[in-house]
Amino acid sequence: MSYEWHWEVLWQSLPILLEGVRITVLASLITMIAALVLGLMVALARIAGGPLGALAYVYVEFFRNSPQLMVVVWVFTVLPLVTGITLSPLLSGIVALTLNVSAFVAEVYRAGITSIPAGQTQAGLALGMTRIQLYRRVLLPQAVARVIPPLGSYWVGLFKDTSLLAVIGVAELMYQGRLVATDTYRPVEIFTGVALIYYVLAYPQSLGVNFLFRRFRVQE
C-alpha cells in the first residue's frame, strides 16, 4: 500500500518534458491564429446566408459535434489517402484542431456580431455606409469586446486539447510524458508531474480569462 516515491526521476526528466511544452505552446499558438482567421470567414459566410451560409452551417455543426480525437485521427490517416498530400504529424494535428476550434470561434464571432442591435446596422446603411464600412467602423469594433472573453476560454481549452496530438505521435508534453514514463518505469511520478505542469501552465491562463470576462462585461 505504501508507495515509495522517487521524485528525482521527474527532476531528471524535466528537460525532456519541457521540450514537449515547447511543442504544446507552438501547436496551440499556430492553431489559434489559424482558427481566428478561418472562424471569421465562416462566421461572415453564415451571416451572409444563401448557399454559402448553408455550407458554413454544416461546417460549424459538423465540427462542433464530432469528437476532436476523431478529427485528429481522420486528418492524420484519411486525408493523405484521399488527397495524396502527406502532412507531418504536427501539421496534421494543427489542421485538425483548427477545423475544430474554428467552428466554435465562428459561433463566438456570429454571436458577437448579431448581438449588436439591428438599429445600428439600419442607421449605418441609412447614412450611406457600404457594408464593408459598416462592419469596419460600427459592428466589428463593438463585437471585439464581446468576443474576447469567450475566445479566451476556447484558447485555454485548445491549450489542453493539444494533448490529443500525442495519439498521432506529435512530441508535445503528453507524448513526452508517456515516452519518459515507459523509459524510466516510473509512471506515477512522471504522469503526476505532467499533470502538474499542465496545471501550472493552464490555471493562470484561466484566471486571466476570468479577468477578461469581468473587464469586458457588456452593460446594456
Partner: protein, 223 residues
Amino acid sequence: MSSTAYTWHFEAFYRHLPFLLEGIRNTALVSVLAILVGSVVGLVAAVIRLYGPRPLRWLVAFYVDFVRSTPLLVQLVWVFFALPILVDRSLPPLAAGVLTLGVYAGGYLAEIFRAGILAIPSGQRHAALALGMTGRQVLGRIILPQAVVRMLPPVASTFISLVKDSSLVSVISVAELMWASQSLVGFTMRPVEVLTGTAFLYVALTYPLSLLAGILRKRYLAV
C-alpha cells in the same frame, strides 16, 4: 489530380455496421454513467463550496480548478496507469474511464450547480430559514427545485461534451465507438471509409442532442 483519385469502398463500412453499433452502445453507456457520477460529485462539490466549512471549501475549489486546468487525456492516463500502482489495486478500463470522465465532468458541473443555486434570490433562503426550515430542507425544497430548471441547458451541453470526450477512453482500450472504429480499420484495411463513416456516426449521435440543448436553452434561459 486524376492519378490520386480515390476509389471509395463504403461497403467495408456498411458490412461491419453492427460491430460499430456495439461501440455506440458502449459510448452511450460510458457517457450516461459518467454524467451520473459527475452529477453526484458536482452537486456535493457545489454544496460544499457554497455552505461547507472553510478548509473544505478550499479543497473543493482546488479540485474544481485542477480538473478544469488539466487535459482529460492526462487525467485518464493518470487514473489508468498511475493510480493502480499507488493504491496497489488494478482498475478495469471501463471503471477507470467512467471514474475519470465522471470526476472530470464533476468539476464543470459543480460550477454549473453553484451558479444555478446562486441565481436564486437569497431572500428566499432567508425566508425559509426564518420559517424554521433546516439548511437541508431549504436546499431540497426551495432552492434546488427552482435552480434545476436553469441548470438543464448547461447540463445538456456538458452531456454532449461527454459523449464526444468519451472517445478518449479508446486510448485505455474501452470498446466504445472510437475503439471499435480503429480496430475495424485494422481488420478491413479501409481507414478512409471506416473513419469517415464513424465521424458521421458521431455527428448523428450528437447533433440531435445539440438541437435538444438549443431548445432547452431557448425555453429555460430566456426567462
